[in-house]
Symmetry: C2
Subunit: 448 residues, 2 copies
Amino acid sequence: MSYSIIAAELHKALLDQDTDLVQTLASELTPADIALIGGHEPNTRLASLLSCLPLDKRAATLGYLEPQEQLAATADMPVEELAELVAHMSADERVDYYKRLDKDRQQPLLKALPSAVRDDLKKLARHAEGTAGAMMTSSFMAIPAYYSVARAMQTLRLKGADVETIYQIYCIDTSGLFLGTLSLRELILASSDTQLAELMTEEVIWVAVDTPQEEVARLIARYDLLALPVLEGERLVGIITYDDAMDVAEEEATEDMHKGMSIGKLGGSLRTASLFELYRKRVVWLVLLVFANIFSGAGIAYFEETIEAYIALVFFLPLLVDSGGNAGSQAATLMVRGMATGDVRTRDWAKLLGREVAVAIGLGLTMALAVSVVGVFRAGTEIAMVVAMSMVLIVIVGSLIGMILPFILNRLGWDPATASAPLVTSIADASGVLIYFAIATAVLGLPV
Amino acid sequence: MSYSIIAAELHKALLDQDTDLVQTLASELTPADIALIGGHEPNTRLASLLSCLPLDKRAATLGYLEPQEQLAATADMPVEELAELVAHMSADERVDYYKRLDKDRQQPLLKALPSAVRDDLKKLARHAEGTAGAMMTSSFMAIPAYYSVARAMQTLRLKGADVETIYQIYCIDTSGLFLGTLSLRELILASSDTQLAELMTEEVIWVAVDTPQEEVARLIARYDLLALPVLEGERLVGIITYDDAMDVAEEEATEDMHKGMSIGKLGGSLRTASLFELYRKRVVWLVLLVFANIFSGAGIAYFEETIEAYIALVFFLPLLVDSGGNAGSQAATLMVRGMATGDVRTRDWAKLLGREVAVAIGLGLTMALAVSVVGVFRAGTEIAMVVAMSMVLIVIVGSLIGMILPFILNRLGWDPATASAPLVTSIADASGVLIYFAIATAVLGLPV
């Protein structure tokens, strides 16, 4: 059966409260799929879906749910049952779930957990959200560097089922300090009496517990790492695996896209966000931009006489100012994304600015040509000339605003993504109004 | 020495043409780092940096360079030298490089390659760009399913150095057909006389050679896969590893961000794109939008008498129409990104539309409040009322346009990301002009 058929059958079985069928269908699905299907069900049905799963799969599925769905699915679960479930989650997902709980549910849960799990959870929960410490799992394969390959393989067979990954092995000294790493591939290819110390690399790419998560994702992607060790002092306290880096990269891209449109960071997914959260994350900049756009209005008011004398000018106002905003938003987006992926560095900026001017001149001339056709037809050659000249200048100025703003914000220590399309557009609009009417006033020979 | 110090030293050593020092410094860097540093050097220096590296590292570094940098770095290389280098690249990077070469360089290179490499390259090069076939590598660990664990481990030790990954093992039957997979972890934890057939999973997540690359990236991220098998019929022809999926996900996010601002897909990075490419990818929509914005101008012209009677109305025009465009762009971005990440599905749409209306009413009322303060102060209560009423309606209509447009485009078989901020803004602007002046004409009691 294909995924979509099973998904539809599962939905029906949940509606019918046919527990046996739910179990059978769920056994053919991965935890990721079950979470996706369950996330679209109302809370009570999601909870009953979870209860049909064997413990390990239930714990894995809980880890795949969206934050709000996790809380909803476990809201009515007795604390002993919850503790058993949570104890079976992977260490990094457990701490994420734990942090999302209300304070008054956290304490009873902690008490009900086995002491080893509790200590691990407390240790991981110390780290601030958005840092390597909050992403990492404490379950990794650490082996003393003086072990031989054969002994290391024996250790792997003994403990390998319980750790997040066995494909990267972390070598420690007798006091537990971190020495270096080797891959399981290197271990398997080496002769069995070699010491790990001879095989391991000491030049390891690592991060500190407080390294920001976007930096973690960038390092894992850049060096094609399977897992990245997290150190606290000289002690290895956790690892972050590639799959978590992928999730963070997706999250960061979403955040940057939203920021590019002046939307604040959502706590979870769009689907599960509350109405008030959606309102709150959008309203701040929208209101600020209303005030920013007063400058454009003031610019128009200043040139009232010009407008009254040549009311035909107003016809071209939207297309001129929007063109500057569009070209500027494009330039800003290219810059901001280039900076985020590491493609563009601060010291490339002068060169890129030069290139942008060249491109903007080309864009401006093409657009001026397009608009002057309309201009001649609609309002005569004189106004068409004003409009064409304005277009070139407005596009160039708009592009420069889009290029320069992210760098200024970056210099001020802000996220360059704050140079959102709406902000660039507002600034470009005001400039556009001034450029247009100033040229019109000069060319058409009106008193200001 | 830290990375940035080595990078600066390396730059200096390249300037001084100090080959020994370049070699020493490069030996401390990973291929990813060397590629990043070399990519910022002029072509001749990049070529001489490559020539200082041992063959394997040179091949790996070439794989990490941007497309244009690859071509520049190898442009003057004699074909025998190039063939030796290319033969040492990983199979998937080799074919990417090969496809980027001019036709008249491809043929001599093919001839100079060892025949096994040539055949592999030809086979991989058949697949269209952007498909699983073009992403995959032909170097994976296939083992007959009737092998015992011990024999499989022996095979791994023998051939494990040459394949892309040994952490996922692909089981085949005696005629080479694909049967199932198991992880190296499962292999290591199993007892040595078990047959692979007993251990392997037959319910494998796989793709066809023509599956689009974004679907590949989505599957790898969703199921946290280390590698995804690619089938042609029942035959396993390649695998795609997580690191390639990460690169594709980043590329797709960049493409979507650019598309969201009406910028076409760039062939490589912003840094290495030609001026003409940048111009060409931006100008098409910019010119189309100039014509789209004529509607706003026409709207204004239609209400010429209203404007002449109440010239103060023009003061509020930019902030009103921009507000509609901003709210609409936000809604479109939330939708488009939600659809791209799989967070939002087509059948969630009606529910999301209802939520958007509720949020938009809240946003509109808040912004109306903000603008009416300015309105009363600037133009009296009557115009303030017109402006506030218009704001509420414009924000709601703008939001709806932003919500609906991606879905309409999707239905028409277009990429929903075509509902870019500039396009949404243009449509919202024209609606905004009509709403504003229609309300003004009605409330202020003017003849149209």
